[in-house]
Subunit: 215 residues, 2 copies
């Protein structure tokens, strides 16, 4: 940590001492999706100052959350989560599920990165049992996200270019990018619900739509 600690013998306080400062969890988000280099992080975190990113990476490393790896020779440093750091997935997914009401206003002028959808989709489908071989794909901002559900649960992968798409598959198109159509746009609530049904968990998204809304 870089700021002053809470100095409380409470797991939440000590966890926040490690990952509670500004940008820290967003860096973890990026590395939960895939390991990244400094410049990748800079691009994925618009608005972060370069010194602050460097500082946070140091903090997270000394905190045992991430580690520096040497990429293939000639390539620079690659940051990745440690085993313990990867354990933040549950926390991040819980926050992503909690945040769905905040997504309904749509992107507005906010930055958009298609790969964020991978995590969001995974979080929304996490822990849900799915029918084997059920498949959907979501095309958004030129990237196709494929949800392939089997006995081990749903998995989300990114396919680019879209040409890699397997043949007979339901593809939902959404522009601008949306979290399963939660924002107003070309993907309607009905379509999103249908997508969840296809993914093997009928009613899952209907439940999400009826969450208590924020102001």
């Amino acid at each position: 940590m870089s700021g002053k600690p809470y100095a409380q013998y409470c797991g939440l306080a000590r966890a926040l001492d490690v990952v509670g400062e500004r940008w820290s969890l967003l860096i973890v988000r990026e590395l939960l999706i895939r390991p990244a280099r400094y410049s990748d992080l800079l691009a994925a975190l618009p608005g972060v100052a370069t010194n602050l990113l460097a500082q946070r990476l140091r903090d997270l490393e000394t905190g045992g959350v991430i580690e520096r790896r040497l990429g293939r020779p000639g390539q620079g440093v690659v940051y990745a989560l440690t085993d313990w750091g990867a354990g933040l997935r549950e926390t991040v997914e819980a926050l992503l599920r909690w945040s769905t009401p905040l997504m309904t206003p749509g992107p507005g002028s906010d930055a958009v990165r298609p790969h964020w959808l991978e995590l969001a989709l995974t979080a929304l489908l996490a822990g849900r049992t799915a029918v084997p071989a059920a498949e959907i794909a979501l095309e958004t901002a030129g990237t196709v996200l494929m949800v392939r559900a089997d006995q081990s649960g749903p998995a989300v992968t990114a396919l680019a270019p879209p040409a890699e798409l397997p043949g007979a598959m339901t593809v939902l198109r959404a522009e601008p990018p949306v979290i399963l159509g939660l924002a107003a746009g070309t993907l309607t609530a009905e379509q999103a619900i249908a997508a969840a049904d296809l993914a093997g968990d009928p009613g899952a998204l209907r439940q999400i739509f009826t969450r208590p809304a924020p102001p």
Copy 2:
């Protein structure tokens, strides 16, 4: 939120805009345990400045996370979570589980509040199926926490004074307060594991003890 928003169309970023600032999640922690008044929060959050606490309470209220209630006549304002704010329980419990390795060094000079253990115990036992009628109690810092497990899962309640304790019940004593004996102290790891076994989930705590450790 009070600071500047991340301006990212990502659920995590938007969630952190609401509850990501300093002290916010610790306030949520307190209200997850029970509704509280301003002075209760001040006492439970040592180190927080009074103006900052007031500011955060305003932020969380306009964010739809908490609400002000009028206590019984003569009593002041009571803060409580909204339905949506209560949805942060999953996030907080995930962080509490993730943080267990950070608790092994013990309290040191950190502040200690027995009621924090209620949440921690609940988080550690969350989602685990338990044998009906299995019961343990943990006495720490003058408070007795009772874990009563039934079909709906384990529940943790605080009993004070200890005299209220039902008759034939296993009581583990720990001083100073510990998270199920994870810290060095009078409650050994073996006792804590035995406590988890009693609570109906053999091996649960053994699993926690073998998590990858932080630096």
